[in-house]
Symmetry: C2
Subunit: 283 residues, 2 copies
C-alpha cells in the first residue's frame, strides 16, 4: 500500500499502478476514523475494480462554525492499518493546505438539493462537500466512487454533481452498515455516552417500526412520520432535528398517500452529538 | 478529424486516439465563429501536444438575460473547415442539452476575482464560464488548456479554477492576435458597422499610447488610465464601460505609483456591441 500526501505523488502512484495493472480505478472518499461502513465500501470497490484508492481528509469547509471540525475523531495510524488490511492500493491523505492551496476561492454548489433537510440544518455543508468531492474527483481520476447510503442526501447531491459536471465517474451507493443492535455505524458514535448510546437505538427502532407499517400496507405519510417521532420522543436525551418522509428524487416532503419510492430520513441530537439515519420505502 | 456530439462519443474517440498516439492532449475551448485568434491557440496546442481537441459550444449560462446569446454569431460548417485545416483531431460540439442535462443545478464559482471588472459589468458571467469550463475539463481529460490573453480576467479565473479544483491540466495563456490596424480579433467584431469599426481602433491606440508612456518611465496609474480614456472618449460612438489599471494578480485597482506588473484593461460599447482589450504593463 502506498501513501500519498500530495496531489503530485498521488498522480504518479496512480499512473504507475494503472500502467502495471490496467482496469477500473475505484475511489472510496472518507474523513477517516474508519469503521465497518468504510470497510464495506472498500470491499465493494475491490470486487469491482483493479485498483482501489481511499482518501482520508477531514474537510473543514463542510463543517459549520459551531460544528465539530476540530474535535472530529482522528486516528491516522489505525486508519492506515485498516486500509492495508482491506488491500487498498493507495491512501491519499493530504493536508488542508494541499487541498485548499493558498488563495483558493473556488466553490461548487449543487443547487436546491443542497438547501433542504441536512442542508437546511447545516447551512453551507453541501457546498463544502460538493467542493471537496469535485477536487477529489479531479485528483483521483477514478472510474467509480463509492459512498454510503447512510448519508442518503449526500449521495443524491454527489450523483447530481457527477452527472452535471460530466465527470467520467459512476457514483455507487452502498448499504448502511449497522451494529448488531441496529445503531448505524458513524465515526461520531464515539462521542456518545453509554446512556446516549442506549437511547440512540430509538432511531433505527423508529425506522424499523415505520418499515413494518409500510410492509403492512400503511401509505399515509403523516402516520409513518409520526410513528418514528413517537419512538424517538420517548427518549429524554433525544432532540429531533427533523424526521422527513420525502420524494426519493426531489426530497420534497410528502403528505397524504405515498405512491412513489420515498426516503424516510432523520437527524437527532444527543447533547452535542448529531446522528443521522434513513431507510428507503419503495412500493 | 472526428466530430463528437456527445460526451460518450468524445470519450471513446479520445481513448482510441491516445491509445494509438501516446502523448499530451491539448484542449482549445471556443464558442465557435473561429478567427485567427482561435487558430493561434490550435497551432500552439499542435506544437506542444500529440492530440489536439477543440470544443465549440456557445454556453448560455455565461450570457446575461439582456446579452447576445441568441444572436451570437454561429457558422459550424466554416468552423469545422478551419479545425480541419488546423489539423485538429477531435471537435467536440455538443448541444446545450448534452452540456446541461435535464435538471442540472450544479454551479462553480471562483469567488472575488469573478465579481470585479468584467464580473461587475456582467453579473454571473464568470460563474457561467467557470461552470462550463469545469465540465469541459472533466470531459476532455486534457493535459493542457489553451486560452487567449484577450480575455485576460477569464484567463486568471480559469487558472484559479484549475489550481483550486486540482484539475490535472495546465492553463496556457496565448498572446492577443490583432488585425493589421490593431483591432483585437473577436467573434463580436462582425457586429460593428464600418463607422463603429473605425472608431473601435481607439481601444488598441489608447493601449499603445499608454505602453509608450510606460516605456518612457511614466508610473502614475491615474495618468496612464487618463491617457487611454482620452483616446477613446474622442470617438463619439464609443461608450466606456471601464478602463482599469489593476494589480496583475488580485485585479485590485491601482492608484499612485505602480511598482508591480499591472493589467491595463478596458471594455467599451459601440451601440449593442461590447468590445474588450488589454495589455500587461510590466516593470
Amino acid at each position: 500500500m502506498q501513501i500519498a500526501r500530495t496531489v503530485a505523488d498521488y498522480r504518479a502512484q496512480r499512473a504507475a499502478l494503472v500502467a502495471a495493472r490496467p482496469g477500473l480505478v475505484g475511489l472510496v472518499p472518507t474523513m477517516g476514523f474508519l469503521h465497518d461502513g468504510h470497510r464495506s465500501l472498500m470491499r465493494r470497490a475491490h470486487e469491482e475494480c483493479a485498483t482501489v484508492v481511499t482518501t482520508i481528509f477531514v474537510n473543514p469547509t463542510q463543517f459549520g462554525p459551531n460544528e465539530d471540525f476540530t474535535r472530529y475523531p482522528r486516528d491516522e495510524a489505525r486508519d492506515f492499518a485498516i486500509c492495508e488490511a482491506e488491500g487498498v492500493d493507495i491512501v491519499f491523505a493530504p493536508s488542508v493546505e494541499e487541498m485548499y492551496p493558498d488563495g483558493a476561492e473556488t466553490t461548487v454548489s449543487v443547487g436546491p438539493l443542497s438547501t433542504i433537510l441536512e442542508g437546511a440544518a447545516r447551512p453551507g455543508h453541501f457546498d463544502g462537500v460538493a467542493t471537496v468531492v469535485t477536487k477529489l474527483f479531479a485528483i483521483a481520476q477514478a472510474d467509480r466512487g463509492y459512498f454510503g447510503q447512510k448519508d442518503a442526501q449526500q449521495l443524491m447531491v454527489l450523483r447530481r454533481l457527477a452527472e452535471d459536471l460530466r465527470f467520467p465517474i459512476e457514483v455507487v451507493g452502498c448499504p448502511i452498515i449497522r451494529e448488531a443492535d441496529g445503531l448505524a455505524l458513524s465515526s461520531r458514535n464515539v462521542y456518545l455516552s453509554a446512556e446516549e448510546r442506549a437511547q440512540a437505538l430509538s432511531l433505527s427502532r423508529g425506522l424499523r417500526e415505520a418499515e413494518a407499517m409500510w410492509a403492512q400496507g400503511v401509505r399515509d405519510a403523516d402516520a409513518l412520520r409520526r410513528r418514528v417521532r413517537q419512538e424517538i420522543e420517548a427518549e429524554p436525551l433525544a432532540e429531533i432535528d427533523y424526521v422527513s418522509l420525502a420524494d426519493q428524487r426531489s426530497l420534497e416532503e410528502l403528505h397524504g398517500t405515498i405512491v412513489a419510492p420515498a426516503l424516510l430520513s432523520l437527524a437527532v441530537r444527543f447533547g452535542a452529538t448529531r446522528l443521522i439515519d434513513n431507510t428507503l420505502l419503495a412500493p
